[in-house]
């Protein structure tokens, strides 16, 4: 499979504040990659660098092009939906389709109109009279009709109700995605996209915390639920995170980066594959505890 995105040693600062620090990322054709992080982690900065909307030092190629220097050309191959409803308020769907048809070589107006016909949106209805869900549907109609090589979604379902969010991702998979497309999604609502991702990247403070294929995820991370009386023994196995639950204690283990085996963990209770959200919290809180401990050592 061809590499759609190749990023090496990406750095970006806003003033003195680092937004991206030594980010290395390669995304192949056909992948659906989720980029997960807290507010201010650097997700949007990473996406904007990929789209050529902001500059970053390092090597970066998207669809074989330099995104910063060939931004307009890149947009023939890439579509994106930003986190806020960014369609102009004065425009109507008919005008939007007509304009896009004239300036975008890969836009199929019939596809867009077919998709719109399945919604409540009328062709002459202005965006300012649409709800947020309708605006997202209209934007999705454009994206589906372009059928680009790479689709970048930056919090596309922010502010939508659960029905609209599910409908959005269903439409994405049914009407847009085939094995030739590549999708990169940033979202806070990890649980909604977990089932469609082929790969997940955790980013925090501008650095990549974790980059794992979903098929390898279950082999790498294990969650153990055990009685509180086993706490001392379990903690000898170096879990990356622990928290209290109704049954006692829950621990998360990273089998790839420790010497602990599955058999050692299984004897203490029930095991299962943790959710992405659990792993993300585990890694972030684990990082926080680690830095706090270092600080205590420093000032002791």
């Amino acid at each position: 499979m061809a590499n759609i995105i190749q990023a090496r040693n990406l750095h970006k600062c806003y003033g003195k504040a680092p937004a991206l620090t030594d980010v290395n990322l390669t995304i192949e054709q056909g992948e659906i990659v989720g980029v997960v992080g807290t507010n201010g982690a650097g997700k949007s900065t990473l996406l904007k660098s990929i789209l050529g909307l902001t500059s970053a030092t390092g090597e970066l190629t998207v669809c074989g092009l330099n995104p910063r220097q060939q931004q307009a050309k890149l947009m023939e191959k890439v579509s994106f939906i930003a986190d806020t409803a960014t369609l102009p308020k004065w425009i109507s769907p008919a005008q939007l389709f007509e304009y896009t048809q004239k300036v975008h070589p890969n836009f199929d107006i019939k596809l867009a109109e077919q998709f719109l016909a399945k919604t409540n949106i009328k062709p002459d209805m202005r965006v300012k009279h649409m709800s947020k869900g309708m605006v997202t549907q209209l934007h999705l109609a454009i994206v589906i009709a372009i059928n680009s090589e790479l689709l970048v979604l930056d919090e596309p379902t922010l502010g939508l109700d659960v029905i609209r969010r599910k409908s959005f991702y269903n439409s994405l998979l049914e009407d847009y995605f085939d094995d030739n497309n590549t999708i990169v999604i940033t979202t806070h609502q990890i649980e909604e996209v977990e089932h469609i991702l082929t790969r997940v990247v955790f980013i925090d403070n501008g650095q990549v915390l974790l980059d794992v294929q979903m098929q390898d995820f279950a082999e790498q991370f294990v969650q153990l639920t055990t009685h509180a009386s086993n706490q001392a023994q379990v903690e000898l196995l170096s879990p990356i995170h622990s928290n209290k639950v109704l049954e006692g204690m829950a621990y998360i283990f990273d089998l790839k980066n420790s010497d602990t085996t599955l058999e050692q963990i299984q004897q203490f209770g029930q095991i299962k594959t943790p959710s992405l959200a659990d792993i993300f919290v585990a890694l972030i809180e684990g990082k926080t505890q680690s830095s706090t401990t270092q600080q205590e050592v420093t000032y002791a």
Partner: protein, 302 residues
């Protein structure tokens, strides 16, 4: 490339349809309506036109409204022969008013076009379309300086023609000959048509100001108005402070006045009085500012 610019201009037309199309139509409709009402209410004004043996023309207007006392106005031949020159002044006045109108709307199109999409976030959508920012910026200037004046001029010419025909018809229906008024109103139309050709020239002469507004709109997030006018306050202050001179504001005024003078000189066929050198300097400055605008638009999305 041409189809992209056509699509861009059409997009700008949709966005600014109010000022490009509806404003001149409404204004013209009001003017036509006002003249129509005036002709209906006061169309029965009686005139006595006498032509003496030596060819002098005398027009006596008798005005009588309801029970008001009659007022008689006399126009002697000299005033009648100067009427065409008076209408040239009227045409120049209408031309100047239209240019002021167009300048304000052009500033609004350029300023709002280059700042509004950053404010409401729609720039993120426009940047997802494969149109270079160079084409985006240039199409906004073309809309402000070409499309906007074209619509205003054409619609105002149509309105003025309709008014001229209405007046001519009204006069021809009255007892006295309507040809006198027709001869006076159609030269007004012709003079205004001739001056309208120079609208584009007048707006291009002001291009440096539009280009500066475009650059500020592309960059400033807050206090855009302050940024626009700041150089016109700060530069004279610094000039006075460090150079003890006062050349900046007179130079601006001279530049603007020379543009309008050239328009009128071209209108009157006085080609020797035309000096286009300041205009070339203005074009160079405009090119620099517009290039800077394109660069800023490429690097700023918020």
């Amino acid at each position: 490339m041409l189809s992209i610019y056509y699509a861009q201009l059409k997009r700008e037309f949709w966005e600014h349809k109010g000022v490009i199309l509806w404003y001149p139509i409404i204004l013209s409709a009001i003017a036509i309506g006002a003249v129509l009402i005036a002709l209906i209410m006061f169309g029965d004004v009686q005139k006595t036109v006498t032509v003496a043996a030596d060819g002098t023309v005398n027009v006596q207007l008798h005005q009588s409204i309801d029970n008001s006392p009659a007022v008689v106005n006399n126009s002697n031949a000299e005033n009648i022969t100067t009427k065409p020159k008076d209408f040239k002044k009227v045409a120049s006045f209408l031309f100047t008013m239209m240019c002021m109108d167009l300048a304000i709307f052009a500033l609004a199109i350029i300023g709002n076009g280059l700042a509004g999409d950053r404010k409401d976030g729609s720039i993120l959508f426009w940047r997802s379309i494969p149109v270079d920012e160079r084409d985006n910026v240039l199409s906004k200037f073309l809309t402000a300086l070409l499309v906007l004046p074209a619509f205003h001029v054409i619609i105002s010419l149509i309105a003025l023609f309709v008014i001229s025909v209405m007046v001519a018809i009204s006069e021809s229906l009255s007892v006295t000959s309507g040809m006198t008024m027709t001869a006076f109103t159609f030269p007004l139309f012709i003079d205004y048509l001739s001056l309208s050709i120079y609208t584009l020239f007048a707006l291009m002469w002001l291009l440096p100001f539009f280009a500066w507004v475009g650059l500020v709109s592309s960059y400033a997030n807050k206090l855009g108005f302050v940024w626009i006018f700041a150089p016109f306050v700060i530069i004279p202050m610094l000039e006075n402070l460090f150079l003890q001179s006062n050349q900046f504001w007179p130079a601006i005024k001279t530049y603007i006045d020379s543009g309008m003078d050239i328009s009128v000189a071209m209108f009157n066929g006085n080609w020797q009085a035309i000096d286009l050198l300041p205009g070339f300097a203005g074009l160079v400055l405009s090119a620099v500012l517009i290039t800077a605008t394109i660069y800023v638009r490429k690097i700023r999305i918020d």
